[in-house]
């Protein structure tokens, strides 16, 4: 905690002024937006923190909430406006002024939170919450007993369970480490955070194990006999039923029956479930079910199926006729069937959308409005080209009253109807240097090459040679002047790819000597002796998996296996802050396009939104069922997209922390995400070698690009969005015609309403080129401001 303070103080030059202004903006505007939903997720976070840390950090966390988080909530108004750290997260508990208990679901959640607070001996906070939420005094007691009595009230039970979980965790860790076995890597951070035993107890009610085979094959026969149009839809049932039946068998110690069951029916499952099936097949003992993540994922989240009403009626009638209660129970308890009216979907339609760990997304999940438009660009007059020198002379005042306006400037005059309010989330004000950079950007963009299917970009490949340590992450600054690599040996290396060398700022003693009034003071503060092409940043204690430059090129973020995210100054080449919170490997991090905020995601299945001057996260986005593998900011900075090992992509609202989109369809962990420059579309790449294109506004999959033969690690749209470049482990860069892919869209109302997409297989038409590297996996792609494509990777002989 003190770390951040120390870090900031040690570098007054870099953080000083911006810190104050940005910070106050944020805090003054932050508060009004907190609402009920926000409170909800904050408590989810609390649950996560309580339940997920390992033994060592448990103590830290325990001591934290009273001082920072919940303690603040008593005096929230005053504290929030003050500059106390952590106010953003902590104060929200009582920040909502809605006394209404809300729908029953929310009430249950509130009860759960109440329970947690009580367990954590936070009586005061609990009382406040109870009062604010308008819950009766005795709200907790009957519910609590209800939950402990097992049965259907899982959501309510979760609250109670959390408390148990936190305490039991410690003992479990010690036991497991002595047994040389796996400790609980985490208790799942699902929507309703249940304890393993509670989850599994649901499996205890069961019929005759020997009949499982008959049940399943009976259903199989039925589904195979129905009309073709229904068969494809009902076939979706196979996989979740299979898994749950298998797990029931295992849980009830019918190992041999389970094994036989598995062997008989595992071949029927769709090939894209192979990975999960392999994990499942290794699980043959009840004891092993504890702490198995995949199992918990399955149990905690209802597998979502979309089935037309006709098909569903058919299934229901069949099961009722046959008195097949076993299967009916599973469907009732573990499956969520999203019934829609209309034509049943075809096999290809279903296949396109399925493949995720927990089935498809519910339709409601993608109904929220997303403001995907771009923010208005700040009005900066672009100096005429022939006055370049003049502009340089008057560096201080780039705002000149000139009649000439850049085309972009005039375009951004009109507010995009789909854009969020300019002030929806507070953004840092532009500094003079930022304005200069914007001017540079506009100038460069006038020289930009217009790309298209008949005019492909040139590709320049930056090869990391002698990278024996293992290159794990690459990033390039927006102006393409610096390139940074994160390495498995915990170092971060920054290279200058222009002739301009990297220089440190002089030491404090030397800084006192320079003439602060001189015009070239910015030049004078730099220490020429330190000029070099490469700077190495030491600090992490594990491989650096994610790396991101700030838009103003003053900072660099790195996320590492050691569970921390570090902020580095590119002026002093020292570490400024270490952000702790994930506690597990952090797979990715990225700066907001406007700076100041950044997002991170990791093994703990949550993504966090941070501000550089807060050592606590501002938002925690929880909901993924497996590791978050990649994180991206929307160009308007109001949304964050996360890709996960659960094979889904989620879009989160930065303002309220809600999940506003869930995209399913990938058949493997997602490792690359890219927003189109207009903010309307999202491209994602996964280990299955496919790139999927998504329409954010409608929440639909709009394209599939097949061609890569290995994991896609990088995706990037050209500056004007005409070309999508994808880089992969298969040592190729491929260019796709994004214009065509998005132009061909048929977004009629029906498709938009039902979410049923018809994808034509036109990957070959959209593929504009495949470019081999010399056994160099492509880890990063970047379009320069003039649309030259830069690719980077380490030579891997």
């Amino acid at each position: 905690m003190n770390f951040k303070k120390a870090g900031l103080d040690s570098c007054p030059l870099t953080l000083g002024s911006t810190d104050q202004s940005e910070g106050s903006i944020l805090r003054s505007r932050w508060f009004p937006f907190f609402n009920f939903a926000h409170a909800q997720f904050i408590f989810k976070m609390a649950a996560v923190q309580g339940g997920m840390v390992d033994a060592k950090d448990e103590l830290d966390i325990k001591s934290e909430p009273p001082s920072d988080g919940f303690g603040n909530s008593n005096a929230n108004d005053g504290r929030l406006l003050s500059s106390s750290p952590g106010a953003g997260t902590g104060g929200t508990a009582t920040g909502n002024n809605k006394p209404a208990p809300g729908p029953p679901e929310e009430q249950q959640t509130l009860l759960a939170v109440l329970q947690f607070l009580k367990k954590s001996k936070l009586a005061e906070s609990a009382e406040i919450l109870r009062r604010e939420a308008g819950l009766p005094e005795d709200a907790l007691d009957p519910k609590g007993t209800d939950a402990s009595g097992s049965g259907p009230g899982l959501a309510a039970g979760s609250g109670q369970v959390d408390g148990v979980d936190a305490s039991s965790l410690l003992s479990r860790v010690t036991v497991s480490s002595s047994a040389a076995a796996q400790a609980p890597k985490k208790a799942a951070a699902g929507e309703d955070q249940p304890d393993v035993s509670v989850v599994l107890s649901a499996y205890s009610q069961q019929g005759d194990p020997s009949l499982y085979d008959a049940y399943y094959s009976g259903l199989k026969r039925f589904i195979e006999s129905v009309l073709d149009c229904h068969r494809a839809e009902l076939s979706q049932l196979f996989y979740p039923l299979f898994v749950h039946m298998y797990l029931e068998l295992v849980y009830n110690n019918n190992e041999s029956v389970a094994k036989a069951f598995f062997e008989k029916f595992s071949g029927d499952q769709e090939c894209y479930y192979e990975q999960d099936l392999r994990i499942l097949s290794s699980l043959t003992k009840k004891e092993h079910m504890k702490g198995n993540e995949t199992l918990l994922d399955f149990r905690t989240s209802k597998f979502v199926l979309r089935i037309s009403r006709d098909s569903y009626q058919l299934l229901k009638r069949h099961l009722q006729e046959r008195q097949n209660n076993q299967i009916w129970n599973i469907i009732q308890e573990h499956l969520y069937i999203d019934i829609f009216d209309g034509m049943p979907r075809s096999k290809s339609q279903i296949d396109a959308m399925s493949g995720s760990l927990a089935g498809e997304a519910r339709r409601e999940a993608n109904k929220a409005k997303v403001f995907y438009g771009l923010l208005k660009e700040p009005e900066i007059e672009l100096p005429l080209d022939d006055e370049d020198e003049e502009a340089e002379n008057e560096e201080g005042k780039p705002k000149k009253k000139k009649p000439k306006k850049d085309s972009m400037g005039s375009k951004s005059k009109k507010q995009d109807p789909n854009a969020p309010l300019q002030t929806r989330i507070p953004l840092p004000e532009l500094k003079d240097s930022d304005k200069l950079d914007k001017i540079m950007y506009m100038k460069e963009s006038t020289k930009r090459i217009r790309l298209g299917s008949d005019n492909l970009p040139s590709i320049c490949f930056y090869t990391f040679l002698n990278a024996y340590q293992g290159l794990t992450a690459v990033d390039v600054t927006d102006d393409s002047s610096l390139i940074a690599g994160g390495f498995a040996d915990s170092t971060v290396r920054v290279w200058s790819v222009t002739p301009k060398k990297l220089r440190k700022v002089k030491s404090a003693a030397d800084l006192n000597l320079i003439d602060k009034e001189s015009d070239d003071v910015l030049e004078r503060i730099m220490d020429e002796k330190t000029a070099s092409e490469l700077k190495i940043l030491y600090g992490h204690s594990g491989p650096v998996y994610g790396i991101s430059f700030s838009p103003d090129r003053n900072y660099l973020l790195s996320s590492s296996e050691d569970g921390t995210i570090r902020l580095w100054s590119l002026q002093t080449f020292t570490c400024l802050v270490g952000y702790k919170g994930h506690n597990y490997p952090v797979w990715d991090t990225q700066f907001s396009p406007y700076g100041y905020y950044f997002v991170s995601g990791g093994h703990d299945r949550v993504a966090r939104l941070w501000a550089t001057d807060h050592y606590q996260p501002l938002r925690i986005f929880a909901g993924h069922l497996a590791d978050i593998t990649c994180t991206r900011f929307h160009p308007n900075s109001n949304y964050v997209a996360t890709g996960s090992s659960d094979r889904t992509i989620r879009l989160w609202d930065v303002l309220n922390g809600n999940c506003v989109r869930i995209f399913t369809g990938h058949k493997g962990p997602i490792h690359a995400l890219a927003f189109s420059p207009n903010g309307k579309f999202l491209a994602s790449g996964a280990t299955d070698g496919r790139v999927l294109l998504w329409d954010i506004g409608h929440g639909l999959m709009v394209g599939e690009l097949k061609g890569h033969t290995d994991t896609i690690y990088s995706l990037r749209f050209s500056r004007d969005g005409e070309i999508l470049a994808s880089g992969s482990m298969d040592n190729t860069v491929r260019l796709w015609d994004a214009m065509k892919a998005f132009d061909d869209l048929e977004t009629d109302d029906f498709t938009a309403a039902t979410g049923h997409i018809h994808l034509q297989d036109n990957s070959q038409e959209l593929l504009l080129g495949t470019y081999m590297t010399k056994s160099t996996p492509v880890l990063h792609l970047h379009f320069t401001r003039r649309n030259l494509l830069l690719a980077a990777g380490a030579y891997n002989p």
Partner: protein
């Protein structure tokens, strides 16, 4: 985990490797514990499961490290996050040896002892590995050019070269995509010229490996040489220069990159030959073919142009002899071709003659055997006096000879024609203009110029014509070519003997051997011509009793109008004495020749200026 592990082989077929009960027992024993079978079995199963779990989570670390190879490090990380101690000692990159012990069915990883003392005191300290660095390199260059507008000639280029090409063409031809095709710019000589310069710079770019794309380049250049360009219609356009330049470029490509494509030479020659033998093609194409051949060197001329000449001659003659007004333009073109052929054959003769002494020079160390076959021919053939051929019949006779000998496209049937035969044949076409042009050469090239050993040539050139090769001749001239067998001491030559001459003995033996061969060849080539010979000068005047046949050829050149010679053959006479068959070693005497007209002093013998590629056109 780090101990020996026996793999269960006899267990039922499963999807996973398993740790057997026995292994667990063994492990327990090594830890000083006694385990029951049941416990061991349960433990084994659990160990398997935990191992699989760890393997799965370690795969995640591998994926995020963007590798395809799972390392021990990944596994250790997975263990660490499961609160299990990491395993040590397996971090090395090299593969671990997995050994088996037969009697015990025991498998283990070999773990060699390392002598730390040796390691510490080792003097050969390994060098640090090279520094990590970033290097930029273009994978793809592209331009605004649409792929469809790429000329067919270069469509077979690889993608990036294609882009490179497009980039260059764009730079040269400007932005208009319609100019991209060579054909579409064939009306614009400027563009074509620039294109050719581009090709040249491509070829000269040492960083560009053209590989098999040389072929495409060559075909582009060939297009410029051979095609009847749209620009050629206008007589004011100087497409000739373009063709000349393209031909030079072709030879440049060939000499620098010819080794990259097998059979390129042959292909070029064949296509040139095709053009040449196609009478339908316009004269400018023929011109291109001739200059192309010429640029490829005298051998190409010898192989293609020379055999074709008789057939082609008839066409050309027809064009040249048509004095009608409508034919004026064509006729002018015809003269161009004529001039080009003339230059080509001149060089052919010159180089051919020049090549003669080379082997002799090389073999001066008395090794007759080293004379290669074709060289032997060349060496020997001038030794014979070529049969003088009457002008009237020469065309016919040689034409028939050539038809038999390989005038067609049959490449393989080609055999070198002896120099004198060639000369006389060529002479039959060109008449004195051939000789005259010889005489006007700066170099002493004419006809076997620098013969260090076997043959000498005295050459009389009209004074005053040495320095201005392009002047039109008005005066009749006499050129005498005298081939004299080497004889150092007895030679009455005014010139000093060549310094490179070796001992006489060796020369003699060499000469003898060559004579033997030449006899054979003379009997072949002489069959037809002996009867036709027309002796003008008594041979006795030039042959000494015991000498072999010195070869004299007198050429009296008449009015020569340079390139545009209207009187191609105003008058010409050749006097070549037929020598008796050689009996002994040829002896050489040089005589002052009676000369009609002026006689110039023989030029310096060893001048090498005939190597110059410059050929006045």
């Amino acid at each position: 985990l780090s101990g020996s592990v026996t793999m269960a082989a006899d267990r039922e077929e499963r999807r996973f490797a398993e740790v057997s009960r026995d292994s667990v027992k063994l492990m327990a024993e090594s830890a000083g514990l006694e385990l029951g079978d049941e416990v061991a079995a349960l433990l084994a199963e659990d160990v398997c499961y935990r191992l699989r779990e760890a393997a799965q989570s370690s795969a995640q670390f591998m994926r995020h490290a963007k590798r395809k190879k799972l390392t021990v490090d990944d596994f250790n990380k997975a263990l660490r996050w499961s609160n299990v101690e990491a395993i040590c000692g397996y971090g090395a990159q090299d593969a671990m040896l997995f050994r088996s012990v037969k009697e015990g069915e025991l498998f283990f990883v070999e773990d060699r002892d390392i002598n730390l003392i040796e390691l510490a005191l080792a003097t050969n300290i390994p060098k640090g590995c090279a520094e990590t660095m970033v290097r930029g390199m273009f994978t793809l260059l592209s331009s605004v050019v649409a792929p469809c507008s790429v000329p067919a000639a270069v469509q077979s280029l690889s993608d990036d070269l294609l882009k490179y090409y497009q980039q260059i063409t764009r730079a040269i031809l400007g932005e208009d995509p319609h100019l991209m095709k060579v054909k579409s710019v064939s009306h614009d000589l400027e563009q074509l010229n620039r294109l050719l310069h581009m090709v040249k710079s491509l070829v000269q770019n040492p960083y560009l490996y053209l590989g098999s794309y040389v072929r495409s380049l060559v075909s582009s250049v060939m297009y410029c040489i051979l095609e009847p360009l749209a620009a050629s219609i206008n007589p004011l356009n100087d497409h000739w220069t373009l063709r000349d330049y393209a031909a030079l470029l072709l030879s440049h490509i060939f000499w620098t990159h010819g080794d990259l494509v097998s059979g390129l030479y042959r292909q070029i020659l064949l296509s040139l030959q095709k053009v040449l033998s196609d009478p339908v093609r316009p004269l400018c194409s023929h011109y291109g073919a001739v200059v192309g051949l010429h640029a490829l060197g005298w051998k190409a001329v010898e192989r293609v142009l020379f055999p074709h000449l008789p057939a082609y001659w008839a066409n050309l003659q027809a064009v040249l002899d048509d004095y009608s007004v409508s034919n004026a333009q064509v006729k002018a073109d015809g003269h161009k071709v004529y001039g080009a052929i003339l230059v080509a054959v001149e060089r052919l003769l010159k180089m051919k003659a020049l090549s003669l002494p080379q082997p002799a020079e090389g073999c001066s160390s008395s090794q007759p055997g080293c004379l290669a076959g074709p060289m032997g021919y060349r060496v020997s053939s001038p030794g014979l006096s070529p049969p003088p051929e009457p002008l009237a019949e020469a065309g016919l006779g040689i034409a028939s000879h050539l038809q038999a000998g390989g005038a067609g496209c049959q490449w393989e049937e080609w055999s070198p024609v002896p120099l004198p035969a060639m000369y006389s044949e060529l002479y039959s076409f060109f008449g004195d203009s051939l000789a005259v042009r010889f005489s006007t050469e700066q170099s002493f090239g004419g006809f076997s110029p620098c013969t260090p050993s076997h043959f000498r040539e005295t050459r009389k050139e009209p004074l005053g014509h040495v320095s201005n090769p392009d002047t039109t001749r008005k005066m009749p001239q006499l050129t005498a070519n005298l081939n004299i067998s080497p004889r150092q001491d007895g030679s009455p030559r005014t010139d000093p003997p060549p310094p490179s001459l070796a001992a006489t003995g060796s020369v003699r033996s060499l000469a003898r051997s060559s004579m033997q061969r030449s006899r054979a060849s003379s009997s072949r080539s002489g069959q037809r011509s002996i009867g036709l010979s027309r002796d003008v000068f008594p041979k006795a005047r030039f042959t000494s009793p015991h000498s072999g046949p010195p070869t004299f050829s007198f050429v009296i050149g008449g009015r020569q109008m340079g390139r545009r010679c209207q009187g191609r053959r105003p008058f010409q006479t050749i006097f070549v004495p037929t020598p008796p068959p050689p009996v002994v070693l040829p002896r050489v005497y040089t005589h002052k020749l009676p000369v009609i007209g002026r006689v110039c002093k023989p030029l310096r013998r060893w001048t090498r200026s005939h190597y110059s590629l410059h050929l006045p056109l």
